[in-house]
Symmetry: none
Subunit: 407 residues, 2 copies
């Protein structure tokens, strides 16, 4: 179902919604026949919410597809991540957890080599090492242009991200339809950043000036003496979450990337330490002023990526009483607890496995037969296996925020 149709069905919800994301929640047994991390964790509060709520599994992108954190969260916000695709500059910026703002222009950058006549001799600067590249990208980060802020962050080896920030400049949002400077092969000079539309002229000029300053800054350097810019993009022009669901929304997250994805869809975003108790504090602050609050808890994913089954269990046990407290604060409001993807400790990374979810509240009786919150129970849950972007509709329906479709 497209977001326009959702927007047409949206009505003021009787109840508030909290989305508690336990990053990388889904897991796998450590040994055949054993419990997953979530099933092994002692979680009396989540188990009680499962019995008085309803369960299911979700695919954040599609069966068999391992989601990155960006698509995983977009999906939880109600956006089909195969349809709502951001420019590569924006993705790269989010990928290094850059806290991207509404009016930013982002580009992927390469350090490269040119000869004395300006012709490219290596588009990746001989795949310069990260340790050699970082001093150069730090120098690029010193470049100032009038009226905007220029930010450079190293990614890996020859790759960096450039963000031109006009927030607060009064210039408003710049059109970003600018062609990249990488000609795709050596022996010719980098191209100029040319505007593809008349409105993108200002952005193209800014980028062109920045490239000239970068060339001056790197002149004579052995490691790299030029830059290429690719995938120039601004924040995508998507339907915004508050408009689609008719809900004022705030994100509370320790890491900039998650605040960035939330801002991409029009949520307000505030920082909080990645501790279970800090999320509860952030919720209490947000709830009076918002209809929807997204709380991000990173710890399970980190433990999963470290391959530490026991620590992932411990992070889930640490959030358990807070989930109970959140439900208490919410009253008959709606609580959605899930992950943005699975991160089984045995795989030491994100995986394609469907992610357990729990919906609670809205004054509805629970399934009761669920037997706690875990992968196997969720596979038998009343919601079945859905796509990640179905979850926001389920939560909104439970909160009374969606009209009937058709007569």
């Amino acid at each position: 179902m497209d977001l326009q149709t959702v927007a047409e069905l949206a009505q003021p919800a009787a109840r508030k919604i909290v989305l508690l994301v336990l990053d990388g929640l889904g897991g796998l047994p450590r040994e055949p026949g054993g419990p997953t991390e979530l099933e092994a964790a002692r979680t009396p509060c989540l188990d009680d919410l499962a019995r008085t709520g309803s369960l299911g599994l979700h695919h954040p992108v599609a069966p068999g597809i391992t989601p990155g954190s960006g698509p995983g969260h977009l999906s939880l916000f109600g956006y089909d991540p195969l349809r709502y695709v951001t420019g590569r500059g924006v993705l790269e910026a989010l990928g290094i957890r850059f806290d991207l703002r509404e009016t930013d222009i982002a580009a992927r950058g390469n350090l490269c080599w040119v000869d004395q006549r300006g012709r490219l001799t290596d588009r990746r600067a001989g795949r310069i090492t990260s340790s050699a590249a970082v001093p150069l990208t730090e120098r690029l980060n010193q470049i100032d242009l009038p009226g905007v802020t220029c930010l450079v962050r190293h990614v890996s080896e020859h790759r960096f991200v450039l963000v031109i920030r006009s927030e607060g400049s009064g210039a408003g949002r710049l059109e970003t339809d600018v062609r990249g400077t990488d000609p795709g092969h050596e022996g010719v000079p980098p191209r100029d950043p040319e505007p593809k539309t008349e409105g993108a002229r200002r952005a193209a000029e800014l980028l062109g000036t920045w490239v000239n300053r970068a060339a001056q800054s790197l002149a004579g350097e052995a490691g790299a003496n030029m830059v290429l810019l690719r995938g120039i993009s601004g924040r995508p022009r998507w339907p915004l979450f508050p408009d689609v669901f008719g809900m004022k929304a705030r994100a509370v997250a320790a890491y900039p990337m998650y605040r960035g994805v939330a801002r991409l869809v029009g949520m307000e975003a505030v920082e909080a330490p990645d501790r279970a108790d800090a999320l509860l504090h952030g919720l209490k602050d947000a709830l009076p002023k918002n209809d929807f609050v997204f709380l991000h808890y990173k710890a399970p994913d980190k433990a999963g990526e470290d391959g530490d089954f026991d620590r992932k269990v411990a992070t889930i046990e640490a959030i358990d009483p807070v989930a109970g407290d959140i439900a208490g604060v919410l009253g008959d409001g709606v609580l959605l607890v899930t992950g943005d993807h699975s991160t089984p400790a045995v795989m030491r990374g994100h995986s394609w496995h469907p992610v357990p979810f729990l919906l609670h509240g809205g004054g509805l009786p629970g399934e009761r037969r669920a037997g706690g919150f875990g992968e196997a129970a969720c596979a038998r849950g009343i919601h079945g296996t859905v796509r990640g972007w179905d979850l926001m509709r389920l939560a909104a329906a439970r909160a009374g925020g969606l009209k009937k479709y058709g007569a």
Copy 2:
């Protein structure tokens, strides 16, 4: 999968199909830990069909979306209700359970006020009360035009439905691409109903004549002295069920709306009292002459909307032996038992909860592990959770009516 592709795969089915719709079947526990209405009902026949058939859950529209009866039934007939959307005139007519025919033109109407020079002074006649409006719409219902039948039904307050019926007039189906007469604001006269295509000229003339007669009929009335017509639409030009599935189809239903939706997709429709035994009689009459029979049983939905858990249980228990009889009459034919949406008594209305379904027959062995027909058993069913429009394909496959896709 689109209906064109289904039509390409359709082949003469070896077996007949009966769709038994228990309207509003899906439910919720009355108290935490309790059974749903379907689970509480003593249903030895349906439980036996479940054990010798196969189970699943379906979303009539999409997870989180509460279906109206129209979209819910379209979905069961194999039509994605987000793709097959009817005009608002048709929807309004169906919404008041108007038994719409193939060649009807339907329009939403407003009672309104105009001044002595014919300019709109209130597009909703001061939101006239229903009791004041009904005598006026009954008077409008007296208007006769040559060669067609004009039918007016009050909806609520200032709203009514106009249907111009040319069935039996020999005129065939009129093109209905006619612009509505509501200018959208006061201070100007209503617009003429103008044809948007040359073919719609006859419909526009009929509507224009009707509006003039309506103005004469209401002249001098204090309650309302004019009408506006909006959302003028005929039966949508969709692929028809008999063509898609290659099956001659009949609907048996007590309520006009369900016969109307069945006719929308090209089924024959006959009336039968809303009693379990009457459905069996209607089936026996239909079966020799049809490949597909849709039996509609309204009672569970009505009990659910009344918030009467026990009565909903009783309506399901009343249909149970008939379901057994239907399976007996069908022999190795295919029986699909489900609802068009959920109507949990605790919610006193339609809901977004997935709907249990049961497929039986086709000479296939059952799941055996199912443990009766109920939400929890269906959540563990072999079919998983599917969309409503998947069900007709599942039934047709079981009946031998769909070829292999690809070599």
